[in-house]
Amino acid sequence: MYIRIKAADINNTQVKKIEELSGQNIFDCYQCGNCSSGCPVVDYMDISPNQAMRLAQYGRIEEVLSSEMIWICSTCLQCSSRCPKGIDVAKVMEAFRTINLRNGIGVVNPKQLGITETKDIPPILLICAMRKMTG
């Protein structure tokens, strides 16, 4: 329950990386919360999409990278379609995942997916999950 805000963190290189990967300006966000209130899976998230945006504004990218929420986001684009500031929030979420994935961090390990669980699942669903969540 304590954050040390430092000038050096705001707009640090990690924030710039997120902005570059997503093509979005993190500082456009004025914290209206519309992204979160429309998000269909926010009730399973540890931090909400608007909180992820806020943490990014403070430069606390690590905190978002290690959160569960970025993996729970199902890229439905509801947030992007409603953001009053025109931020493509889903792209920001994708940028967080991408940084993790490029560092080999993911939550789906294809080798560990059980055959019985997956045999009925359509290929498109499996491949999607692997592309979005295999580091």
Binding site: E20, L21, S22, G23, P40, V41, D43, Y44, W71, I72, S74, T75, C76, L77, Q78, S80, S81, D88, A90, K91, E94, A95, T98, V107, V108, L113, T118, D120, I121, P122, P123, I124, L125, L126, I127, C128, A129, R131, K132, M133
Partner: protein, 292 residues
Amino acid sequence: MKLPYYPGCTLKANARHFEKSAIQAMEKLDFQLVEMKDWVCCGTVFSMTSDDLMLQLASVRNLLRAEKQNLKELIVLCSMCYNTLKRANDFIVKDKGNLEKVNNFMYKENLTYSGKIEIYHLLSILKDRIGFSVIAEKVKKKLSALKIGAYYGCLLVRPEELAIDNFEDPSIFEDLISTLGGESLDFAYKLECCGAYQTVTKKDVSVKRVYEILNSARESGCEAIVTSCPLCAYNLDFLQKDVEEEYLDFNRIPVFYFTELMAVALGCGWDKNWSSLHFTDPEPLLREKGLI
């Protein structure tokens, strides 16, 4: 008339009835869906990272091969493939630099992609090219007594640039249902995500989504759901098993592909094999309504 179409892997696997019913229904409308040759995976999901050209390659390879086969357009049935192919196409067409890089990478294809292939969803073809009024004339068995909830999910309407209709208040699906003589009922969750690939990692997320969506449809009086996405169809239909265990007030509800309903209405009848590809078998409902 011939229409070149892109099936995608799932239409050859879990969603065989989607493809079959589409071909049959389109024949009744005097259109022949011709599968494009040498297609590969659509890429399954569009990568939204600005520098991830690698992840666009699968999509573009299909577009390039379509061009090689002298096609001008591709008709897509699966919402997911539609979304991925169309966005990938936009991504490289809007930025010449991207197009060039992708082409260079695929030099072995012996052709460079010009960016001129148009991607359409079958629903748009039905509405804009064939016209609902024309279809209405060919309906043999009106779906009169059937109360249907049109489920769009995310991929047909988001992002706004590729939405096949108004992205906040679409009606193309409902209009098709009325064309076929059915009654379409509005429900609050028709544009909400089904949980998508969370089914693989966090099934409980999808299960809750499916419960909420189907319940909302039920409460609005729907007897069946119609969709155009094999991913949604899987979640909405097959997860009903888990929903049942989790939520005691839940009642099963059949989930159709829109082409199945078209096939029935246009007089192709119901293929027994299709039933086995559903979890909640729609046959009893169709029988009850006297449609088969």
